[in-house]
């Protein structure tokens, strides 16, 4: 399989029937990125997209892609280690997402957080969110992903499969990025949103708390069955 096929497979899955499965994480990612942007717009004079949105997006991509590809490449020893402990890792992920949601809610209330609200901190937060989302996500296996997983499951071809899975993950994140940045641009242009930025930021922060609570309490399966089951 070509690298470009894997990349396109990941990207196109976001804009097709497979999006139903991505709904496990996509609305929460949008809320996270929009919440960060509004938190920045309320804090800083110059919330330039490049610095405040693009860097965190790249960090998210790195975190999500690396862990997603490792979970997919079951032929690698480290993948098996992750897969056999994924339930515990999901609990930790829930705590990480909870902290990110609380950060969005509290950044304008706690001066320590406001002082440290920098692209670097947001990037570190995004990196952790990317890793956490890869861990709480249960992908539906598309035909392209099926082929990649087949290659990645054999120890002899696991590294090649891992590379393809990495590209597939980059494809998914590119679609997340396009959608997330479009959302941020739309929010930026909306007078109503910018006038009520604190309120809307808080709503996004609360949305980010949802997967956190679901992952911590073990109720994620109810969300998947109810919301995704309703759409499929």
């Amino acid at each position: 399989m070509e690298i470009s096929t894997a990349l396109w497979g990941g990207f196109s899955s976001f804009f097709s029937i497979w999006q139903v499965c991505l709904l496990q994480i996509s609305p929460f990612y949008m809320a996270f990125i929009a919440g960060l942007f509004l938190a920045t717009a309320g804090q800083k004079d110059d919330p330039r997209i490049g610095r405040w949105v693009l860097l965190p997006f790249l960090a998210y991509t790195a975190g999500f892609t690396v862990f997603y590809s490792l979970l997919v490449a079951s032929g690698l020893g480290i993948s098996r280690l992750l897969l056999y402990n994924v339930s515990d890792l999901r609990l930790i992920s829930g705590i990480v997402i909870l902290l990110a949601g609380l950060y969005i809610l509290m950044v304008d209330r706690i001066s320590f957080l406001s002082r440290n609200h920098t692209p670097l901190l947001l990037s570190a937060l995004s990196l952790s969110i990317g890793i956490s989302f890869a861990l709480i996500y249960s992908p539906c296996i598309t035909p392209t992903l099926s082929e990649i997983m087949g290659i990645a499951s054999q120890p002899q071809t696991a590294v090649e499969g891992w590379r393809l899975a990495l590209m597939y993950g980059v494809g998914i994140c590119a679609a997340f990025g396009v959608t997330g940045i479009t959302l941020v641009l739309l929010l930026r242009r909306s007078g109503v949103v910018m006038q009520n930025d604190r309120l809307i930021k808080n709503i996004f922060g609360i949305i980010v708390l949802i997967p956190a609570l679901l992952a911590i309490t073990g109720l994620m399966r109810h969300f998947k069955a109810f919301v995704l089951g309703f759409l499929v």
Binding site: I17, W18, V20, C21, L55, L58, A59, A62, G63, V66, L70, L71, V72, A73, S74, G75, L76, G77, I78, S79, R80, L81, L83, Y84, N85, V86, S87, T118, P119, L120, S123, L127, S138, P139, C140, I141, T142, P143, L145, S146, M149, G150, S153, P155, Q156, A158, V159, W162, M220, R221, H222, K224, A225, F226, V227, L228, G229, L231, V232
Partner: protein
């Protein structure tokens, strides 16, 4: 130092830190992955983990009770689109191969009993089905993605794992291998 100079330095420091930390993480994980996978060039077939599962029809499935018999286990969820696509193939093939001595089981994961029952009814999914409520069985098998089907030999080792929607031909091909 003037304020602008300090800010510039701080900004450079952040960029440097970010530029080092992200690729650093990637390199560390790749290295770890390669290290952990070394020595797996000629792997032995892995044994399927033993488990006990309450079936939705009231029965109980204990993998250990099926020693000496080939088994096919399918992991699915009611909300999973490819699982819906493959379900008719699973039902057909079960009808063909159960009389030949193969045991079939479907395990729903990340799901609720109510939705699984709805799935069975809607798709006429005539299959022994259980729900892995805690995710323990899924973790023991190392399942990440749905659907995933395991073909287990008579000696309890996993002969083949198929990630994704399986066709009738693929299922028949793998089940024939279990009967050899």
């Amino acid at each position: 130092m003037p304020d602008t100079g300090r800010k510039e330095l701080k900004s450079k420091y952040y960029k440097l830190l970010l530029a080092v930390s992200v690729p650093g993480l990637v390199v560390a994980l790749v290295t770890a992955g390669l290290l952990f996978s070394s020595g797996d060039a000629l792997p032995e077939k892995k044994s399927a983990p033993d488990f006990s599962l309450q079936l939705l029809d009231g029965g109980k499935f204990q993998l250990g009770d099926y020693n000496g018999k080939p088994i096919m286990i399918n992991f699915f969820a009611s909300w999973c689109h490819p699982c819906r696509i493959e379900s008719p193939a699973l039902v057909t093939v079960r009808g063909e191969y159960e009389p030949k001595g193969i045991t079939f089981l479907a395990i729903a994961i990340d799901d609720t009993e109510e939705d699984v029952k709805k799935f069975i009814e809607e798709l006429d999914f005539i299959f022994p089905v259980g729900l892995d409520k805690t995710g323990e069985i899924k973790d023991a098998f190392g399942v990440y993605g749905l659907p995933t089907t395991y073909f287990i030999n008579r000696d309890g080792t996993i002969n083949y794992t198929h990630p994704g929607s399986a066709t009738k031909d693929l299922l028949r091909h793998e089940l024939d291998k279990l009967l050899l």
